[in-house]
Structures are given as C-alpha cells and as structure tokens.
Amino acid sequence: MTDSSDSGSAIREVRLGATREEGGTREVSYVIGGERGLPFSGNGPERLLVALEICDDPRFWPPVVRDYVGDLANNPDEWARAAERTYGADLVRLNFTSTKQRGFDAFDTIAATTERVLAATTRPLIVEGSNEPKLDSEVFRRCGEAGEGERLLLGTAEADRYRSVAAAALAYGHAVIAQSPIDVNLAKQLNILLRETGVPQDRLVIDPYTGALGYGFEYSYSVMERIRLAALADDADLAMPMISAPTDTLSVREVREAAPADQDAMAVAWEFYTAYSALVAGASIVCVRHPLTVERLKKALEV
C-alpha cells in the first residue's frame, strides 16, 4: 500500500550543535530530518527531540514554572544544567526575555549568558534572541558570536524581520528557525526569502507557529500535516524539519485558573497533549516549559 505520502521525497537533514571534531564543544550533536514518510510511519530515522525552555529574565515567564523551579529561575546556567541532567531534556532553548523590558541595552549580558549556558550544558542549544525588532541586529550578533562554531539553532526569523537572524547565522555558522503564522504558503515564502539571503537550505527549521491546545491548536496541527505532505510530494522549499513551541500554553485559562494543588498537573497535561500531538503532526523538536512535561514526553516516545 504505497502512495505519494509514503516513501516520498525526504525531509532535508539539519545538524544542530557541534562536537569537538565538528569545531564546537558539545558532547553530542543531533541530526534531525531525513524522514521519507508520514510521522511515526517508520519511514526514516525519526529523531524526535524534546527541548526545555528557560529564560534570562523570569519576570516574563509563566508563574507555574517559576514556582516549580524556584531559585533556578535566577540562574540560566544552573537552570540549563538541571534541564539536561535532572529533567532529561535533549536540549535547552534559551529565551532572552530580558529584551522585553523597556530601554534594554545590556548587550554584554547576552553574550555572557550564552557562553555560561553553553559551558553548563553538553548538548546543542537553541537560542531565542531578541523580542524587539529594534534590538534584533545587536542581540543576534552578540549571541551568534558567543556561540560561534557551536551550530546553534537561532530564532526567530519572521517575514518582516529575518535579516538580522540570517546575518548572524551566516556569520557564525548557525541554523535558523523560520516562523510564519499558521500558513503553508507563508512558510514557503519565508524559506525562499531566507534562501535569498544565503542561508543554506540545510540550516533551516520551520516553525509553523503553534497555538495552544484549545486556542487555535487545530490550525497548527493541520498546517504541520500539510507542510509534511508538501515536502513528501517534492516541494523542496517546505522540505525542512519542523519545530513546535506552543508558547502560550501555560497562560491559558485552564492552567491559570486551576486550583493551586492542581496547577502543575494541569500545566503538564496541557503541554503534553499539545506537544505530543505536534510530534504526531510532524514536528521534529517540541519545546516545553514545565520540567515535568519533558519526562512525560520522553517516556511517551519510547512506547
């Protein structure tokens, strides 16, 4: 029983992280992509990764996670170490939430924090640089430079702000997250724009934008399925691995308004159902914020 959606064209492989032999300092590097069929169909390597998100300014982070991790929230490097060693994440996604504050200009800390987190971890790193278009060029330059040779996954490029990320990725050898709002054609257009800046195709990861469960997730789910089908049907501009980061998940009403004793359980359930479904739709990397969700996802991927 074969048709175009099985054993079709392959998703392009993207390498994340660099070991010593590869010019970095990571103990492992990952290659994602390479599948030739629908997700979970056994057609291809299916290297699925779970990233724990951390940040450098916990004021802009969900209270349920702050309460759970306690002091770690004030030490990105300790937090990153725990993500890897205690919580079992395949990799860390470091969010520079400090760039959200008004008048931010502490660019030196961007570089320093990137270096500290790299030193605290042994695995590849995802860096979510600037939250503010005006800061893009400086922020991406600083974190890109600090991670030179480490083949970071740098985010996030969008249709109206991709040049600074692309420039940092090109200058320092990183891969790029390309985010578009839940639309196959917009995803494709952005990939083409990025290609024109010179970012090689095997350094692009599509973020189709993930709405939280109950808050638009169904659209994201279907767009991921459509992107994967287009890739298998030979659309080279969509044949990149996908990353899913349902960033609003822990601020939905169900989590915010859960009784204090149930908050962690609700947060984990909400993240788990969203992230697991994203994997079934074709994501190669899912990003979550509650440490307990990581273990649940890792276990689920074993059965």
Binding site: M1, D3, L38, P39, F40, S41, G42, P181, L213, G214, Y215, G216, F217, E218, Y219, Y221, S222, E225, R226, L229, R253, E254, A258, D262, A265, M266, V268, A269, W270, F272, Y273, Y276, S277, V280, A281, R296, K299, A300, V303
Partner: protein
C-alpha cells in the same frame, strides 16, 4: 471511488416501486450517491448488483452506533485521511474502563464521574462518552452485576470486555437491548460472538493483529450477519498503532479493502502511557477508545484535543453576531465591541459574568475570526463596525456614543471614530483585565 447518482440509477430496477422508502429509483440513487442510504433497502436487486453498488455507495467508514438514547455515540462515517481535506465528523467515544473485581463503590464513583462531569468550552458541553466493563473475576454473574452497576446501558453507552461466552451471555441478558459494544471476536470465538451480536443487534469488535487478519475476520463476521463492526488492531506500540490505523483508514477511504471500512478500537491502557495513547487515538482515527479513569487534568486536555481535532477546519466555532445584554444593562451601560469567534465571545463572557458589570457585548461578524486574526486579515474594519452598529440598532439601546474596542484593535480606533461618529475607548488586550478597566475608566 464514489459513483455519480445517474451511474447508480442505471443499475437500479427503474420500477419506482417505493419499497426502499423513496418515491423513485432516482431519488434513491441520489441518496446512495452521497452515502445517505443503504443499498440493502432495495429488495429487487440481484446479489452482484448489490455488491457492486454497495461497494461504491456506502460511506467508506461505516457509521456504528454504541449505546441507546441520548448519550449514545455514533462513530465512523469518515471520508478523509487528513482533517484539512474536508473535516472529521464523528469524534471518538472515550469509554472509561472499570473492572468487575473492583469494590462496588469504586465502580459507582467511576461511573458517576463519567455521567456527571461536563467540561464547558466555547459554548459546547464536552463529556466522556461511556463505560467499559472488563471481566476479570472470571465469574459471569459478577460481570453481569457490574454491568448493572454501570447502568446496564440505560444511560451511558457500554463496552463489554470479556473472554468467555458465558460471561457475555450473562451481561447481554441484562444490557443487550441497549446496544453495548461486545469486545472482542477473535479467530477462536468469532462464531459464538457473532451469533450473540446478531441475536441482540449489538455492535461487535473484532480483534486481530494487523490489517490483513482484521479484514479477514471482519469479513466473516459481516457474512455471519453482524453489520456493525469495530476493528481492534492489537497495537504493540504507539508507533505501531499510528502506522496501522493510518493503513486501515487509507484502505477504507480509498475503498481498496471494504472489509476495513469500520471504526477503529483502541485500548489506551494497554501500552502504559495513557495520555499519549489517548492523544494518538484522537488524532489518528480511533472511533472507540477505552481508557483507565482519568485525572481531571488529563480529562480536560483530552476532551479539548478531541474538540479541536473534530472542529471543521473551514468553519471556526461561531456565535451569532448581534448585541448581547450582559448583567441586565441600562441605557448608560458600556458597549463593548468584539468578534463572533466562539472562543473570544465565551472568554469575554466568563470574565464579564463573574464581574457582574452590566454591559452590552457588541458582536461583529468577522466570520469566526479572533480579534487579532481578524485585524491582521482585514476582516475587522471600520466599515464593518459602522454597518453593524446600524444593523443591530445599538444607538437606540444606549444614551451615549462611546464604544470600547479590544486592545488588539487599537490600530482601527481613529478610523472607527471617523466613520461612525462614536467616540472610541481602547480597552486592554487581555480579557482578564477588562472588568478592572471598566471599573476604573467607565463613566458616562
């Protein structure tokens, strides 16, 4: 592939005898063509024609009803492999499993939880579907008693899970008339179980490893006179379930193997990871999912996922545009502009109800798009606001000309003022902050 009404008509007797319940053969053909009639309804067809037309006119996945009455569930009658191709129609039944070895209290409270728990989301009431009773006591009378405790099928649909025929006989004697799903016919016992299912007119699950064996067994049971079947592929792993279920659905909708054209059964407790299995079943084609009792968090997330996946991708869940009085507003109450996306409306309503602030919700027709999406996509415009103000007669309801708009619609504020002549107040972005905002800022 599906046949057109006229092509079907060519094969019918053309006597217009009405025995099928339709006035003419052509009318019957038209219903057949859209999967809304059964070929069996025409008594005057020879077996070959029946087989030919049956194969091309029935829905690729048969509609199977479990249970009777209000809470019964119908699953199957699906037409596509991916929801974006059209939509998924019949959300899977989620059946909470109890055992006949449990103390009565425990069974009772599990059943009550299924019966009474309702999750209200965007104007819909989401519930777990039914109860699966498993025979682990090896005592038929004990099994039957537990089935009775679970309501015997009178209120909630049931799945009866057992191995031996005596247990099924005992349980069916008391619940058989309420269409419980019998689980499961295997290569060894299918004759006896098919006979029981036929006697009571119940749906029957068939259990075999992989699509090939399932098709063979389903074929035998159908030939034995049981039309309503459900397929249990006995997955070894979650990946195996997803791959096999996909293969079954593909064969069904492609009509390459009619004996696979039935809903799929999944035991979410069998693989150790209940949440993941539930999610996989909801996403990938399960019709009946049996699960151990769920924590409140898992239950709410699973029901929400089921609601999401079974929402029509072309048509967001919407409320009727119009003006909605909240908390008995008078002529000086604020008018709050919003959109007709259900999620937006009910989110706002939740906060406004709780705040007890009297106001008018002024719901514009953005074709079901959220505020931010409607603004980004050009669906929420000053013209729409002006037209809607007129259409809903808002000016006659209040003695002021002040319009509170969502924070995300701020870019439209000047244009709305120009076109409507109303003064615009830009509210907060987050609905949670709306009551606080109104208390502070609203004065006429």
């Amino acid at each position: 592939m599906a046949m057109k009404a006229l092509d079907i008509y060519k094969h019918l007797p053309k006597t217009n005898c009405k025995k099928c319940g339709y006035p003419t053969c052509l009318a019957f053909a038209m219903k057949l063509a859209v999967g809304k009639a059964e070929i069996e309804a025409c008594p005057d067809l020879d077996p070959e024609t029946k087989a030919l037309l049956g194969g091309v006119t029935r829905p690729p996945v048969r509609l199977v009803q479990v249970g009777a009455g209000e809470r019964s569930v119908a699953v199957g009658e699906e037409f596509v492999l991916f929801r974006h191709e059209k939509t998924f129609y019949h959300p899977p039944g989620i059946m909470v499993q109890v055992s006949d070895t449990w103390p009565e209290d425990e069974v009772r409270s599990a059943v009550e939880a299924v019966r009474d728990t309702v999750v209200h989301r965007v104007g819909q009431d989401l519930v777990l579907t039914g109860v699966a009773v498993k025979n682990e006591s090896n005592r038929p009378e004990r099994f039957a008693e537990t089935v009775a405790l679970a309501g015997g099928g009178t209120s909630l649909p049931l799945v009866l899970i057992a191995d031996d025929i005596a247990s099924f006989e005992a349980a069916l004697a008391m619940s058989g008339h309420y269409r419980p799903l019998i689980h499961a016919a295997t290569g060894d016992n299918w004759q006896a179980l098919a006979a029981l299912a036929k006697r009571y007119g119940c749906p029957l699950a068939v259990r075999a490893t992989g699509p090939g064996e399932l098709a063979a067994l389903a074929g035998k049971c159908a030939d034995a006179g049981v039309p309503d079947l459900v397929l249990d592929p006995v997955p070894r792993s979650l990946r195996d379930f997803i791959a096999t279920a996909t293969e079954i659905r593909r064969a069904a909708v492609g009509r390459t193997e009619p004996a696979l054209g039935y809903p799929i059964y999944l035991d979410a407790g069998s693989l150790g990871e209940t949440d993941a299995t539930l999610a996989a079943g909801i996403l990938k084609y399960a019709g009946i999912i049996v699960t151990p009792p769920l924590s409140p968090a898992s239950r709410e997330a699973a029901l929400t996922l089921r609601q999401n996946i079974y929402t029509d991708p072309q048509k967001p869940i919407q409320v009727t545009p119009g003006i909605y009085p909240i908390n008995e507003p008078g002529p000086s109450a604020p008018v709050l502009l919003t959109v007709n996306f259900s999620l937006t409306y009910f989110t706002l309503l939740g906060y406004l109800d709780a705040s007890r602030i009297p106001c008018y919700l002024f719901v514009a027709d953005t074709e079901g798009l959220s505020v931010l999406t409607a603004v980004a996509g050009g669906k929420l415009t000053e013209t729409l606001v002006a037209d809607s103000l007129k259409k809903f007669g808002v000016a006659d309801l209040v003695d002021h000309r002040l319009l509170v708009i969502p924070g995300y619609a701020a870019p439209l504020s000047g244009k709305i003022e120009d076109v409507t002549g109303w003064k615009v107040l830009v509210g907060p972005r987050d609905a949670a902050e709306l009551p606080g905002y109104l208390e502070k800022e609203w004065k006429t």
